[in-house]
Symmetry: C3
Subunit: 338 residues, 3 copies
């Protein structure tokens, strides 16, 4: 969204002249799609929010403290534009609420934020882990850990951007009395021209076992197409999920064609729980800020009834999938950023 | 409120120069009144929010996509300024959350929004369906339909403004598994100089019967006064409400005098359930954006105990009215728009 | 925070040129600290929000109506930046939601706001009644009164600022059917150069007795240090709390040293319930808007088990203190205003 954060940035420009230390940016996305979903025989037509990019409203700002030091803040809410609600987490600033100090040493960031393991997983999905093609639907969390994509009470350190393409972060989230919220994880990557590779590891110490996530992802931009790959392993007791995702984005006509194939090889309590996902989409850009998009996606919950209940792949439709079922989704939507 | 949306529109102006595609407007209303209400012997003095105009905070923006095409968004929250809460619906963006594409063909709008039947009813109330004089207090919904004034998951089409005074919209709301939220309705109107007429019809397919609303409204501005008329019929099983509303607004001194007489002839389960409402108010304009206002209103629940429980007219005070009771309300408030 | 409200004020400046009546200011604070707390043997490491100044986001504006008359509004939300939630009161605009008319006569303000007794208590705490050093931890409310620091449904009158240093306010909050929310109170003060003194009284008529708060506070700025004193008495049935607070702030190096000693002599149901609090902190200013701060604080719940359950001093850690226990807190945080 960075390119499309315009609104108050203009003000920031004026503020820059009038009062050097001031800059607040208002930014957001409104994204609504007409969506059709089908779980075997269960069908639903509905309006959904955030099929191409999560609908949001945010405020962020940077203050130059001199000597290369900067203070900044970021408050970002989640909006369901289809029904006017905020995120079901009950957190108004669900997506991010942080304060940072940054400089030559890197950045220290405090608050609620994304986890490094999620970033390393999600940034390499042509569908941005949203909508019917979201590869996160094959990401199953075990042991009741609340540390899938975001966590509260994070102290994070980010490497500076001056390390010749090396980037990384270390994040620790305080559980504050709840083990499910506790997290320690890091991410390390290297980016050079069209090439980008990232590895991340994170764990949540649950009473019965450590819930562990390890992920390695990479992308290469061939110009006519960009290839994305992700491999992720999740461990908790006898549950072991191996996720493999392949994605392609390619500029076609006035927009972008997106393709993804993802699969999970799940070993929940010793039984196999496998699932396949295919997704194809096209994003037609009306401007840098506005697009019409459409996606067709399909999940096949491969294994038999023997492991039903032990392993659940998130479906596309409202009704949960049962073992062996397939789920299909189609959307046609508008995404507008500001 | 359109005239009073100033704040960030100025920014929009600058943005217009600096980056042609950018314009975000911050807008809002804060309206608080000291209110006295009485239901027969039950009295209450209280502070209320939105006696003249619903208190709100919103962000909206328009992007020019070229070739007459525009993308726009609208996020509008409801505020109870008397106690700092948002709307009791739990939807932060309770009033509106939409994304639109518009052009010579009209406008396609997706999200949570007003219903055409409500607009055709509410736009012809001198008291704007808020405060103690709100004519919506005589509008009774049957069958548990959740489609009185707004709905989630709407796909709407609006006619362009180039049809020689003809305007209209068609709105379909997906129920998403809940019949009470489903809605199909439309509105068609004609406006020429001082004359304006609108008709609308909408229905919600409930399991037992279709809940139907039909309304025809009009206004004529004589200069020294503006006359407003509304007739609305509501049908559900054996419940049939016939609403008639007459309103007058007249510029008097530095403000506006407002008068209304509304009545419902209600046939709930075969028994008559009638109610009368009188309201008089004065809005003293301190500026285009700020006014002091006062309203005196009265509802008489005419019928006897035989139909109590079958038909409920929304009272002004906190305690529900019982059959044959009357409810009186008086407010004195400040409305400030930004 | 007034000095640091920059962002949209700049817009206000432009608005001043383009449309004289317009000015909306966006303002806020993001403040997060790493905090260590200990209640006897119970320890916790956590991230907390608002250790130096309550994290918030707000919008406010003033309109010049001519002839010295002004209309203004103020909407201020509370943010827990550590976890992205709003205030646990469920009120999004928890901190303030008001509309005002002001002029030579003073100011009439309607809505949710601070209470005069709280202002007279809180404004004389070097730690601003936030964080581990918050003197409000020794302020115990009796009888279930909901009128400690803020109330809904307030009609308030403020004296004009032209009375030669005399200032004051009278606030009445409608209970709206709940005695615990009802409040009548006032504040009167005098400020001249380095000297400032305030007295306030407020009461909530509860069914069993009036819950009464009386407070007298003052400060003197000696230049090398500023001394703050507060004495407050709370009465409800046989519960009588006498609070005494002494605070000092002193410019030391590039920041401010803060010291406080507070004690409550509590007579709850005839038994003594005393508590002592010590706090020391340093705020290192990185700029006018941004600071790093650290605080060490200690509460000693002096009395014996005989009065446990009758008198509770709010602890620093998550677990409630029991009689005779002590609570220790330490924080290290960043506060950034915008």
């Amino acid at each position: 969204m960075k390119k499309s954060l315009v609104a108050l940035a203009v003000l920031g420009g004026f503020a820059g002249m009038a009062a050097a230390q001031s800059s607040v940016t208002l930014f957001g996305v409104v994204d609504v799609a007409a969506t059709y979903v089908k779980n075997d025989d269960a069908k639903q037509k509905k309006l959904t929010s955030g099929g191409n990019s999560t609908s949001r409203l945010g405020f962020r700002g940077v203050e130059d403290l001199g000597g290369g030091l900067k203070a900044s803040f970021w408050l970002e809410s989640h909006i369901n534009v289809d029904d006017g609600t905020q995120n079901s987490s009950g957190k108004f600033w669900h997506r991010r609420s942080t304060v940072s100090l940054s400089g030559g040493f890197g950045e220290v960031r405090l608050g609620r934020d994304l986890l490094p393991t999620w970033t390393a997983f999600a940034d390499y999905d042509p569908f941005g882990t949203v909508g019917v093609g979201d590869k996160g639907r094959l990401f199953n969390v075990y042991g009741g850990a609340a540390t899938k994509n975001r966590a509260d009470n994070i102290i994070a350190y980010f490497l500076p951007s001056t390390l010749g393409g090396i980037y990384g972060q270390l994040s620790v989230a305080a559980g504050e009395g709840n083990d499910a919220n506790k997290y320690v994880g890091g991410r390390l990557g290297y980016k050079a021209g069209p090439f980008d590779v990232t590895a991340a590891y994170g764990q949540t110490e649950l009473p019965a076992d450590d819930y562990q996530v390890a992920v390695i992802s990479g992308s290469y931009d061939f110009g006519m197409a960009k290839l994305m790959l992700s491999y992720q392993q999740t461990d908790y007791l006898s549950n072991k999920d191996k996720f493999l995702g392949v994605g392609v984005t390619a500029p076609v006509g006035p927009g972008t064609l997106k393709l993804a194939y993802n699969r999970t090889d799940g070993e929940a309590n010793g039984a196999h729980g496998d699932a396949d996902q295919f997704a194809i989409g096209y994003v037609y850009d009306l401007s840098k800020r506005t697009a019409i998009y459409s996606t067709l996606a399909y999940i096949k919950n491969k294994s038999g009834a023997s492991r039903a209940g032990n392993y659940s792949v998130s479906d596309i439709a409202g009704r949960p999938m049962t073992a062996g079922e397939k789920s299909t989704g189609f959307d046609l939507g508008i995404r507008h950023s500001f």
